[in-house]
């Protein structure tokens, strides 16, 4: 089928899966923010009280992430092959560090997601080993203990810088691929992409940072 094979079709799949992932990033941020209001345990409990919903949601997320990574890798490899020789001198006019490194910021984010899941979902990393013998895990305690470790906070901060880079190109890019663009909106989307990604980065980092500096404690 066209959409799965053609150059523009596969870009559309990248764009749509990317948009769904951005929606997830927004919802996840809203969920995480409950920590500031002391509701995070209630929120976690509420989620886990409906296992079928959680599992269906996880399956869908896996399909979306899988699509985004598969086509991302495939398209990048094709692009490298289409431009095999480098110029002796090349002056970049418009491409940015973010746009040129989508594959790397993306793969680093994927690696981070695996770590993040092993840590707070599967709960097997050393910092959360103590939760193993608990009947009900105190999510607030788990998050606060883990983020009291500066090294872990640094990993999260770096991952969020990757998120910023990935989305600062990803947001204007998905709009262009959907065709929702014209001469007037091109520069606006470029700025909006940077502002929104910066907001997401700072908002996500605020949680571990607040814990690390001791503003949010047990």
């Amino acid at each position: 089928m066209r959409i799965f094979n053609s150059t523009v079709g596969r870009k559309l799949l990248m764009s749509i899966s990317g948009q769904l992932l951005i929606i997830f990033v927004l919802i996840h941020l809203a969920g995480n923010s409950t920590i500031y209001f002391g509701w995070i345990n209630a929120y976690a409990e509420h989620l886990h009280s409906m296992p079928p919903v959680v599992w269906v949601f996880r399956a869908i997320m896996l399909a979306i992430v899988g699509t985004h990574i598969c086509y991302g890798v495939m398209l990048t490899l094709e692009n490298k092959a289409a431009n095999p020789t480098n110029y002796a001198v090349k002056r970049q006019l418009k491409a940015s560090f973010a746009s040129e490194n989508m594959i790397w910021t993306g793969l680093l984010l994927a690696a981070f997601i695996v770590y993040h899941l092993l840590q707070f979902t599967v709960k097997v990393t050393p910092d959360v080993a103590w939760t193993a013998n608990q009947a009900v895990v105190d999510v607030f305690k788990m998050v606060v203990t883990s983020f009291s470790n500066a090294a872990i906070v640094v990993v999260y901060a770096l991952a969020m810088i990757m998120l910023f880079l990935h989305l600062s190109h990803g947001i204007p890019s998905f709009l262009q691929t959907m065709g929702w663009n014209n001469d007037k909106t091109i520069p606006v989307y470029g700025t909006a992409g940077k502002v929104i990604s910066a907001f997401l980065m700072l908002a996500y980092i605020s949680i571990p940072a607040t814990i690390l500096v001791g503003l949010l404690k047990l």
Binding site: G9, L12, N83, T85, A88, S96, P172, I186
Partner: protein, 254 residues
């Protein structure tokens, strides 16, 4: 050009020399002496070539035709930018006054898998023609000369089509693209024909065929770096790529 003595320049050129498609190539250094600021870039190369011929050496092969910025034949990456650093200017319209005495200039061919090198700075750009051919025909009446205003085209649409039609098919967009994609070129053609009544009938087939031809001819995928628009000597906007994307989505459901 020896008449210009007061402000002539000496420029060091680093030119990509490659004897044939499969021969190894390398940058070679030449000295361009007595370069007048009024000369065009290609005239400067002409003089270097005359010296090379006099010395019994192989002149630098480069593409050119109209030398007035309308045919799209000239094609060199000059100091890392297709057609050189002056915005909206083809290499033939670039003047030596944009350089200074003592400058070094790197001159390389378009580089992309879809554009194999023929010799030195000349590349085979037939892949662009094949995309155009894949676009097929536009329906029109045969017979007598049609009345001038028989088909009304609103002014905004006519302007839009004309902006897209400014593309001279030089391939600078491909040369500039980190992915070796011909998306700007293809989109300019698709956009131009899809807004005009004469091209609308075949719009869906055309966009699919041209996108497929782009892929089959070894061009990469667009990832929205927008490097193409910045390098285009005609300033073709990436808004046409957005238009192609819209046309393609419409075609998917046809």
């Amino acid at each position: 050009m020896s008449a210009h003595t007061s402000n002539t320049m000496t420029i060091t050129l680093h030119v990509w020399r490659q004897a044939g498609p499969n021969a190894p190539g390398k940058l070679e250094q030449y000295e361009a002496k007595n370069v007048s600021p009024d000369q065009s870039f290609l005239e400067m190369l002409d003089e270097v070539n005359e010296d090379l011929i006099k010395a019994g050496k192989d002149p630098i092969a480069f593409d050119h035709d109209c030398r007035e910025g309308i045919c799209g034949m000239c094609s060199s990456v000059i100091n890392g930018v297709p057609h050189g650093g002056q915005v909206r200017t083809t290499a033939c319209q670039l003047h030596m006054r944009t350089f200074k005495d003592g400058d070094a200039i790197y001159i390389e061919p378009w580089r992309a898998k879809a554009f194999p090198i023929i010799k030195d700075l000349i590349v085979d750009r037939n892949a662009l023609e094949r995309i155009m051919q894949a676009g097929g025909y536009t329906s029109c009446h045969t017979g007598g000369v049609p009345d001038g205003n028989a088909i009304l085209i609103p002014k905004p649409e006519a302007d839009y089509a004309m902006d897209a039609a400014e593309c001279i098919g030089c391939g600078a967009c491909v040369a500039a693209c980190p992915n070796g994609s011909a998306m700007l070129y293809t989109s300019a053609k698709v956009a131009q024909l899809s807004v005009l009544p004469q091209g609308k009938a075949e719009a869906a087939e055309r966009v699919c065929a041209m996108v497929d031809a782009m892929q089959e001819n070894g061009f990469g995928n667009c990832s929205n770096h927008y490097e193409c628009q910045a390098a285009c000597p005609k300033g073709i906007s990436v808004k046409f790529i957005a238009k192609l994307n819209r046309e393609y989505q419409k075609a998917l459901f046809k």
